[in-house]
């Protein structure tokens, strides 16, 4: 109930194959959430073409754990932009 969308930003991607990049994202999320299934349920987007990272619905404490994983630059809550 307390989960919110967080963006996990990992900078430039280190693998050319986007499927490999996405698989890495799922593995990382699963390592914190406890299962692959939970990771698939929680994942909103995998950023795999122009850079590496993902968006997922996680709690604050889960976000903190993800932030400590190697390769993670920053975990930030998603927020809104508006038209100008």
């Amino acid at each position: 109930a307390n989960s919110k969308v967080h963006i996990v930003y990992m900078g430039e991607k280190h693998h050319h194959d986007p499927e490999v990049v996405t698989s890495l994202h799922h593995d990382m999320l699963a390592s914190v959430l406890g299962s692959k299934e939970a990771a698939y349920d929680s994942m909103v987007y995998s950023y795999k073409h122009g850079f590496s990272g993902f968006a997922a619905k996680v709690t604050e404490s889960q976000a903190q754990k993800i932030a400590e994983l190697p390769g993670v630059i920053r975990v930030m809550p998603s927020h809104f932009y508006s038209l100008q």
Partner: protein
């Protein structure tokens, strides 16, 4: 756009200009992150367009009321929609009954259709809003292809989740767009570029690193200082100006004096009728004639035109006054206000005409001096050309840059007031497929269209080179040589914090002579200079990076502008320029120093030949001021007699540093 492109010198009837030199931008793909697109709009016709460019790897995605195979064509070659982040953040389901929208690339707002038209719409002749602004609508690059990434949804003001925006950037980079146009903003105060929540600067960093320029709006929080958004140095940030077009609307008083207000009023003339200004009798202290809180109890409104006053520049008081006056049976409203540069029609052709405070006071004096004041309201006309001056719009956000004051923002200004372009039938301001809208949202795709043309002409130019070409060649006056003013209270002559390098001059930008180029190394230098740690920078750029032992100066970032926010001791900064003009060229420096500031350039002459294409130079700056000052402005121009490569200089003396002067 029925005027804006001609105003900027990109008329198709001109025998030579950037438009012709680039075959109208053919082969270039413009990606827009916006509210979607109305594909049936005439501006997206693909008549005469050749095959889809080879580099295109994107796709059109079907969805609600959007059939990819039928709705996309050789003009609209990409259309995707991103809602997962938006839905995941909304606790309630997105109810498209209450907030009409389509779960597809289809646009309800009209905003994305409008911006797409401005950047790369095809020609549509005889377009107007109810006869106003009549002409040919088209994009800056009329033969460019469009890719819409719908990231904004129909909740108040249009909300766009940063998770969705980042995915759209990710896809746009993959799809092979040549320029990304983002008419979105966030709330102040800002988040920093890489270690917080500024999704647009993160996505744009990776786009720019791959050679894709990203053009963003400066936001609509002006005219206060420090309101500019999208300030990362790799982003091209756009302010909004007016154009040489207005919509004068005659207000004829009973004494035969005719005052020209401004309105989008295409209804029938209101013949001579009563004119009233709400005033309270006796000692009641509240003002009855304030537009946003009209007190009409003591005023005979039915059948009359009401004059009101407001100090608020936005459209809100106009809408509020119209609602109150209509409810009381009035037949028109005259609003005396500071210019807000956001005109719009009032519903059901109700006349709502804006005048400035000076003319409003004249009307008030007429009312107070006459037993039975009367007025006639005539429909708006379209006035184009020299009598109309160019102004930086009131709403356009202003510098300095609150994150990194040494990085001048906005970079450039472009038309963004009362722009006629395609829209959605759901847009309440749309007529016959077109609507007049204002905002830095409209200025942004003007620059995106020009960037598309420049990419077509100079395919090897980096995003920084394109930005440099635009900034150093921009008009400091309007196209007729008259000064550009900045709206606000009071109005003043515009400076770099209003319009960056100035008003975009596409034909000059095509041949700038010299460019201040930047690549990933320069952005790393910036990140080191502003204090990001090396591990974060290494990951950001995907390579091991170490900031130098001596922290680089942000003043040395190779921007086409010089901004010194805290000058106390003498400062020497460096720049390098690359010759993109004739191989054998000699440029000399011409300095216009800010008042009280000494500026010296070494060397004063730059000699380029077949082996020397890039030359570094230093700029020594010192102050004679002995107190903390505000910003003074000047310029540095390199010229070979043909090209003028002008960098704006902004300097603030800070004898006491990190000091708020609130005395």
């Amino acid at each position: 756009t029925t005027r804006s492109w001609d105003y900027l010198g990109l008329s198709p009837s001109s025998p030579t200009n950037l438009l012709h030199d680039t075959n109208l931008g053919d082969g270039i793909v413009i990606g827009l992150l916006d509210t979607g697109i109305w594909p049936e709009s005439k501006v997206f016709n693909d008549e005469g367009l050749g095959p889809i460019p080879n580099q295109w790897k994107g796709q059109c995605v079907s969805g609600e009321s959007f059939n990819a195979s039928a709705d996309c064509n050789k003009k609209l070659i990409g259309a995707k929609w991103y809602i997962d982040g938006f839905l995941a953040e909304n606790k309630q389901p997105f109810n498209t009954t209450d907030s009409p929208d389509f779960l597809s690339p289809r646009d309800v707002f009209g905003h994305g259709t409008h911006t797409s038209t401005i950047a790369g719409g095809s020609f549509v002749y005889n377009a107007s809003y109810r006869g106003l602004g009549l002409g040919s609508v088209r994009g800056g690059a009329p033969r460019a292809r469009l890719a819409m990434y719908k990231v904004c949804w129909n909740v108040p003001r249009g909300q766009c989740s940063s998770a969705d925006i980042l995915k759209a950037f990710d896809d746009a980079i993959h799809d092979g767009v040549d320029v990304i146009s983002v008419s979105l903003g966030t709330q102040l105060p800002l988040f920093s570029e890489v270690d917080d929540r500024d999704t647009i600067s993160i996505g744009s960093f990776h786009a720019v690193a791959k050679g894709i320029p990203v053009v963003c709006g400066a936001a609509n929080e002006g005219p206060s200082a420090y309101t500019v958004e999208n300030t990362a140095p790799w982003i091209l940030t756009v302010a909004a100006t007016t154009i040489d077009r207005s919509f004068p609307t005659p207000i004829t008083l009973g004494n035969n004096l005719t005052i020209l207000g401004q309105a989008i009023f295409a209804g029938k003339e209101v013949g001579f009728t009563g004119l009233v200004y709400p005033e309270n009798p006796g000692l009641i202290p509240s003002l009855a004639g304030v537009c946003e809180s009209l007190l009409l109890n003591n005023t005979p409104v039915a059948g009359n035109v009401v004059l009101c006053f407001t100090t608020v520049a936005s459209r809100t008081p106009v809408a509020t006054a119209v609602s109150s006056v209509r409810a009381a049976g009035g037949v028109g409203v005259i609003v005396a206000k500071s210019p807000g540069d956001v005109l719009g029609p009032c519903s059901n052709e109700f006349p709502c005409i804006e005048v400035d405070y000076e003319l409003g006071t004249q009307i008030l004096f007429y009312i107070r001096s006459t037993r039975s004041p009367t007025v006639k309201l005539s429909p708006s006309a379209t006035l184009v050309g020299k009598p109309i001056s160019t102004k930086v719009a009131t709403f356009s956000s202003r510098g300095p840059n609150s994150i990194a004051p040494a990085i001048l923002k906005p970079d450039i200004a472009a038309p963004g007031v009362s722009i006629l372009a395609g829209s959605s039938p759901y847009d309440s301001f749309m007529d016959g497929g077109f609507a007049l809208h204002s905002g830095t949202s409209m200025a942004t795709p003007h620059v995106s269209g020009i960037v598309a043309l420049l990419k077509a002409l100079h395919s090897n130019w980096s995003p920084a080179a394109i930005r440099s070409a635009l900034v150093t060649t921009a008009w400091k006056t309007d196209p007729f040589g008259e000064p550009i003013f900045a709206e606000g209270s009071p109005q003043k002559v515009a400076n770099p914090f209003d319009y960056g390098g100035g008003l975009v001059n596409p034909n000059k930008a095509a041949d700038p002579g010299l460019i201040y180029d930047m690549g990933t190394e320069d952005y790393i230098k910036y990140l080191c200079a502003v204090g990001y740690n090396t591990s974060a920078i290494s990951q950001l750029v995907g390579q091991t990076t170490a900031c130098s032992m001596v922290k680089p100066s942000v003043l040395d970032v190779n921007l086409p502008s010089i901004t010194i926010p805290n000058l106390r001791e003498n400062i020497t900064l460096t720049r390098s320029v690359t010759n993109v003009g004739p191989v054998n060229s000699v440029y000399k420096a011409n300095i216009d120093p800010p008042p009280g500031i000494s500026v010296a350039v070494r060397p004063e002459t730059l000699v380029f030949n077949s082996t020397i294409k890039t030359i570094s130079f230093t700029v020594a700056v010192s102050t004679t001021h002995q107190v903390n000052t505000g910003y003074y402005f000047g310029s540095l121009t390199w010229t070979d007699g043909e090209h003028l490569v002008t960098s704006p200089i902004s300097v603030r003396t800070q004898i006491i540093q990190y000091y708020t002067d609130g005395n």
